[in-house]
Amino acid sequence: MNVPAPNSTAPKLTGAEKIDVTITAIVPLNDLVTRFEFKRSDGSLFPTFSGGAHTVVEMQDGDRKRLNPYSLMSDPANRETFAISVRRDDEGRGGSLFMHNKVKIGDPMVISYPVNLFSLDLRARKHLFIAGGIGITPFLAQIKQLVRTNGNWELHYSCRNASLGSYVDELTQKYPHSVHIHYDDEKDFIDLENLLHGQPIGTHLYVCGPKGMIEWVRSTAGAAGWPTAHIHYEEFLAPKPGKPFAVRLAKSGVTVKVGAHESLLEAIERLGVEAPYLCRGGACGQCETDVIESDGAFMHRDHWLEDEEKALGVKIMPCVSRFEGKTLVLDR
């Protein structure tokens, strides 16, 4: 390791810089989605960010610490308040339930600096946004950014029904010509093929929503000849529960049992072993870990590793992926 200025420390890889915040507003939007607003606890201003960025929210739930990423949906130029919108997931591992049920106005929390894995391509002549459900959140910030810089954009937003359409009213009132809402229960679906066909050259396509929607948009655009560099998507995977398994961390010389409801990354952190991460959702590549030995099956769930790498079983992304079998030894 080459160290130009030896008295300073090596780059911190375990997540982005942290910010102490206080919850200043909790606004239920409908049965499932609630908005949480933060201000900095020391009264100073937040950094500006770029539309599409997320923050990782630390939740101290009893003796468990959860870290979940949420898209920043507030105006990127608003440096006083950051806001996220959280959809309650009754089947999930509890992060969203913690936010919905336990967090109160005035609570101190810790969030990370903004990290953008879904940024606008500023060369685009036009930005075409496709949102499904809670996938609307990154677009809310991107739209505010584009409105300020006179950007050309159009949004197609698909929701289950009118009562679950978060931010529909605000969007349609402010931007009646750019926003198109589609309700599943009215059998009103996005006519994607025609929509893509009518776009000017230089349009970039962005999609955020459920897995199925992302795949549908990517494959339809691909089949219509859109260059992959013009198709942008963001899907944060929440780690899924699974069977408990044991893993040996070779460098640290410890063995850890990964519980059914915790991720491999969380289990490693629980032992106090430093492990790199950024997105905690299988998208950024930061947590990539070498497998030294394995006898069993990998449940690879990330978007990072190539299919061949997954098949070889020599790398794992501990933020979302799991393992079932006899032995797993990691280079950590």
């Binding site: 780059p11 982005a16 770029s50 990127p76 060369r123 950024l278």
Partner: protein, 358 residues
């Protein structure tokens, strides 16, 4: 810190010089007695008091003269500063980053007063006092990147991030070690690094890119790079090779101590907030061999590095022909004693040179 700005030149009569303070804080790049390319990156969150690592953008005694030299280069060749249309937002990000950093880090030299979008910028060393509207290009005499980098030492590459790569889509480059912005504009990380020997094979660029793509707001990073330059010349560009290339042949054993410079680049990396672009400032520090050997540890070490460096690197860095002459000089400052680990001169602990009798 009260900085006395030098009145000096980096061309023609080369009146450039380093004060004792500048010599003491020179970013000597070798932490051990040998050198090879590596992914040598660390956080850029301050450093020892008065070192070049302390502030986000180091301002030193050469500031005013360096800016004058940049103005001359740009007047001769406007293509040294280019920004593709989609990079204007990143230019504003950079202007904000530099103005905020400099006014906070050097309040006696720079002031920034902001009322909403109405900004008032005072640069005392350069005698600038401008009011403008943030994000309104028409209120500045140049584009935002050019405006602020005409007032900031070092070259700047502004990289757009997309498709898991970085693209050199804007920059101002007047103090470079033999590469051209006009040639590299629009290229990606692997394309502009193509001429570098050995590093691709070692996987260095793949790992470096991965690191850079993940640099986050509020967590800048830095690394050092170095080369050799004859005469204290800032603009060693391919465009002007016909002017400076021949000067390499003017080196003689008699003038080498004063004419041969070690050129060190302090390279930093900042994520820009609105554009999500990455800015890469490359700050150049020059020091003559004569001044380097005034620190016994640095003299010993430089001799060993220059002696043992692989031929490919000496060729790429352009000093292979002059290496024997350099070694002849440097060997007089290497008595074979061991050196301490790390880049600092350790002037108080490192033994003085044992003069050889032969």
């Amino acid at each position: 810190m009260n900085i006395q700005f030098n009145d000096e030149t980096f061309r023609d009569d080369y009146s450039f010089k380093n004060s004792q303070r500048a010599i003491d804080r020179f970013p000597f790049p070798f932490h051990e007695d040998s050198y090879m390319y590596s992914v040598n990156m660390e956080q850029h969150q301050g450093g020892p008091v008065d070192s070049v690592y302390e502030k986000r953008f180091d301002v030193d005694e050469h500031y005013v003269s360096e800016m004058r030299d940049r103005e001359m280069v740009l007047a001769d060749d406007p293509l040294r500063c280019q920004s593709l249309p989609h990079m204007t937002l990143a230019g504003w990000d950079l202007l904000e980053l530099i103005m905020v950093s400099k006014s906070e880090d050097y309040p006696e030299l720079f002031e920034l007063h902001r009322e909403g979008a109405n900004w008032h910028w005072i640069n005392k060393p350069l005698g600038i006092d401008d009011r403008f509207v943030f994000m309104d290009d028409t209120t500045l005499p140049y584009g935002p990147m050019e405006y602020i980098t005409r007032q900031t030492q070092g070259d700047f590459c502004v990289l757009d991030q997309r498709e898991e790569n970085l693209w050199m889509d804007a920059g101002i480059v007047t103090t470079q070690a033999d590469w051209s912005l006009d040639f590299d504009i629009g290229m990606n990380f692997f394309e502009w690094h193509a001429p570098v020997p050995l590093a691709h094979e070692k996987g260095i660029f793949k790992r470096a890119l991965k690191f850079l793509l993940n640099i986050q707001q509020g967590a800048p990073a830095r690394r050092l790079n170095w080369t050799m330059t004859v005469n204290p010349l800032l603009d060693t560009s391919p465009e002007n090779y016909h002017k400076w290339g021949v000067q390499k042949m003017s080196l003689t054993p008699q003038n080498l101590a004063e004419k041969q410079y070690l050129r060190v680049e302090l390279q930093t990396f900042f994520r820009l907030p609105r554009s999500n672009a990455l800015v890469f400032p490359i700050r150049c520090y020059l020091m003559s061999f004569k001044d380097i050997v005034s620190k016994p540890k640095w003299g010993r070490r430089l001799h060993r590095v220059v002696r043992d460096i692989p031929e490919e690197l000496a060729t790429y860095k352009g000093f292979i022909d002059n290496r024997p002459m350099m070694l002849e000089f440097l060997s007089r400052y290497d008595d074979g004693l061991p050196t301490s680990f790390g880049v600092w001169p350790d002037s108080h602990t490192e033994p003085a040179l044992i003069e050889s009798t032969s």
